[in-house]
């Protein structure tokens, strides 16, 4: 039997998407080095122009360099995606573990609460949270993070339910292990796979939600660029300067596709049934 790592390298989709993601992440991390221009520097003489005059991808309505803004945008968008998913994954995991393992009234309370959150239209909830906390990258992260908690709770709970009746969990109880150790040492390591898959897919969802918030004017604050913000803003200039919307859209598409396909590939890799075929 091959190890997961070996199988990973055999899976072309996983490798390609992984590489794309690494490149994007590197771009985000090294934005200050990579970006050719200052992202806030306005250039009155070169507003909304196409490629040229030292602007590789052209400029926006203030004459700021699009390429640099897209590179920095990766930073914001990925931060929002990853951090918000980290929040939802953390709380979702905790709640899902408790709910799935203990069942009964704990399960009922947690899951009904999740139902409540879930039945609440996502954008409205995010909107309410941002409106309450005020705008800004961290608030956006928090809002999106909270909104996604129910999804993770459900995923984790489902995984816990499938694991908790396995005999190794029972054997842990049989040797007298404490509940907390069972939860974190026996069960948690075994639900990482669905969690990981869910997370990789949720990141792209979070990037999209940020853009929706930007559309409603409540995303990341200017002049910090986020892809969603850039797309929302440049919609007004779609016909006048199509480049302004095309480039950030491309960046976002690539990233989201990569995350999604990577998540799917992970699912295939981690699914023992799928493997045998």
């Amino acid at each position: 039997m091959l190890t997961l790592g070996q199988r990973f390298w055999k899976n072309k989709t996983a490798v390609i998407c992984g590489l794309v993601l690494i490149i994007i992440c590197m771009g985000a991390v090294f934005a200050p080095v990579l970006a050719p221009k200052d992202i806030t520097q306005m250039d009155n003489a070169h507003r909304m122009q196409g490629s040229g005059d030292g602007y590789l991808l052209g400029t926006d309505q203030f004459g700021r360099d699009l390429l640099s803004r897209i590179i920095y945008g990766a930073r914001t968008s990925l931060t929002v995606g990853i951090c918000s998913v980290a929040i939802s994954a953390f709380f979702g995991t905790m709640l899902g573990l408790l709910s799935g393992y203990f069942g009964r009234w704990i399960d009922t309370i947690i899951m009904r609460t999740m139902d409540i959150l879930f039945a609440f239209p996502e954008i409205l909830l995010a909107l309410a949270i941002v409106a309450a906390l005020g705008p800004g990258t961290y608030k956006t992260i928090l809002a999106i993070g909270i909104v996604n908690i129910p999804v993770f709770t459900r995923t984790v709970r489902g995984a816990v339910l499938s694991v908790k009746n396995l005999e190794y969990v029972e054997s842990a109880r049989a040797i007298g292990q404490k509940t907390s150790r069972i939860l974190f040492l026996e069960i948690f390591p075994n639900i990482q796979a669905p969690l990981l898959v869910q997370a990789s897919i949720a990141i792209s969802g979070a990037i999209l939600t940020e853009s929706a918030l930007s559309f409603l004017g409540l995303g990341v604050q200017p002049p910090n660029p986020s892809w969603g913000g850039m797309i929302a803003e440049s919609r007004r200039y779609m016909e006048l300067a199509p480049g302004m919307i095309i480039w950030p859209c491309l960046a976002m598409t690539l990233t989201i596709l990569a995350f999604n396909l990577f998540g799917d590939a992970l699912r295939d890799l981690l699914d023992p049934k799928h493997r045998s075929r």
Partner: protein, 321 residues
């Protein structure tokens, strides 16, 4: 012989959801009575779904019995608080049927074996380490294997790890829930031999759950036959196999295919299937499949009585000798 564990009127009913108003109950275990003596192997046989595993889990209070008493060395386990029970489990351990799902795939063998020692805080780090290495050799594996993960082992090897995990606390009682039924015959033989040797060495008491009558015959001292949550017959192995009393036991024994084409057995073919434990027949639960059933069997449930010397049977038709 000293009784290690006495079980009295043990019941476990699972509520099953069906509809809104009526709450059906699966009577997985429905009034078990037996005693396990120190150093012996008591086997529990019965067809799939008759409640063997449920019973095993109830004995360790891994699931809460609905009713009944479990006296372990005279102490009623049912009276213990969850925390006390947790600590008491040091003396009673479980070996599982499935060597694949009973080991956490994310832990090394060392971690798996270390865990019981950590939980019960036995010895310092060096002692723990030594103990792990000692036990792994006892079950016939090399200590080199300790740093590997379960998926790197064959089924038989995993089952050895499972046994090592149960043994490392040096318990008094081991409940083995079909420990060999997932294994190939040749590996099964290895494990049965191992269990036999370990029993000798550590003076273990086994409750051995199985549906394989030939395996049971090989390993046990006494055998209890279960049918639909109840024990229908319990006796010393030789008595049970030579002169089975209960009609179900007889049918069971005659159904076992023997690897010997020359022996042409009289086969007792039962009619119909195992009834559902959520809706057991009235009276004697075996009566719908019993060829000898009389009117009384339908109306009155028989009780498990001593019909001959140390031979308990639950059947109206068997006369007390």
């Amino acid at each position: 012989m000293k009784a290690l564990m006495e079980v009295k009127n043990l019941k476990k009913h699972f509520p099953v959801k069906s509809g809104f108003s009526k709450k059906a109950m699966v009577k997985a275990v429905d009034g078990l009575e037996f005693t396990v003596y120190e150093g012996e192997t008591l086997s529990i046989v019965g067809e799939s779904g008759c409640g063997k595993s449920t019973m095993g889990r109830c004995l360790l209070r891994l699931i809460e019995p609905t009713e009944g008493q479990i006296l372990f060395e005279g102490q009623d386990l049912m009276q213990l608080s969850p925390e006390e029970m947790r600590l008491r489990r040091r003396d009673m351990q479980l070996v599982f049927q499935d060597p694949f799902s009973s080991l956490n795939p994310r832990k090394t063998i060392r971690q798996i074996l270390m865990e019981p020692l950590i939980v019960h805080n036995i010895g310092n780090t060096a002692e723990k380490k030594a103990k792990v290495e000692w036990i792994i050799e006892k079950v016939g594996l090399s200590p080199d294997y300790l740093n590997r993960y379960p998926h790197e082992f064959s089924g038989g090897q995993r089952q050895r790890v499972g046994i090592a995990r149960a043994l490392i606390l040096q318990p008094k009682l081991i409940v083995a829930d079909e420990p060999v039924s997932a294994l190939d015959v040749s590996i099964q033989a290895q494990i049965l031999n191992l269990m036999h040797d370990l029993q000798k060495e550590f003076k273990l008491t086994y409750i051995f759950i199985s549906h394989d009558l030939s395996v049971v015959k090989h390993i046990s001292d006494r055998v209890a036959v279960m049918y639909l949550g109840k024990i229908v017959e319990i006796a010393h192995k030789s008595k049970l196999y030579q002169s089975p009393q209960h009609p179900y036991t007889k049918a069971l024994l005659s159904s076992v295919p023997l690897p010997n084409p020359d022996v042409k057995k009289e086969r007792i073919l039962l009619e119909g299937d195992l009834p559902s434990p959520s809706n057991p027949p009235t009276g004697c639960s075996f009566h719908p499949r019993c060829q000898n059933a009389v009117e009384a069997c339908k109306n009155r449930a028989p009780i498990l009585e001593e019909k001959a010397d140390h031979h308990l049977v639950s059947c109206h038709l068997i006369e007390k000798r």
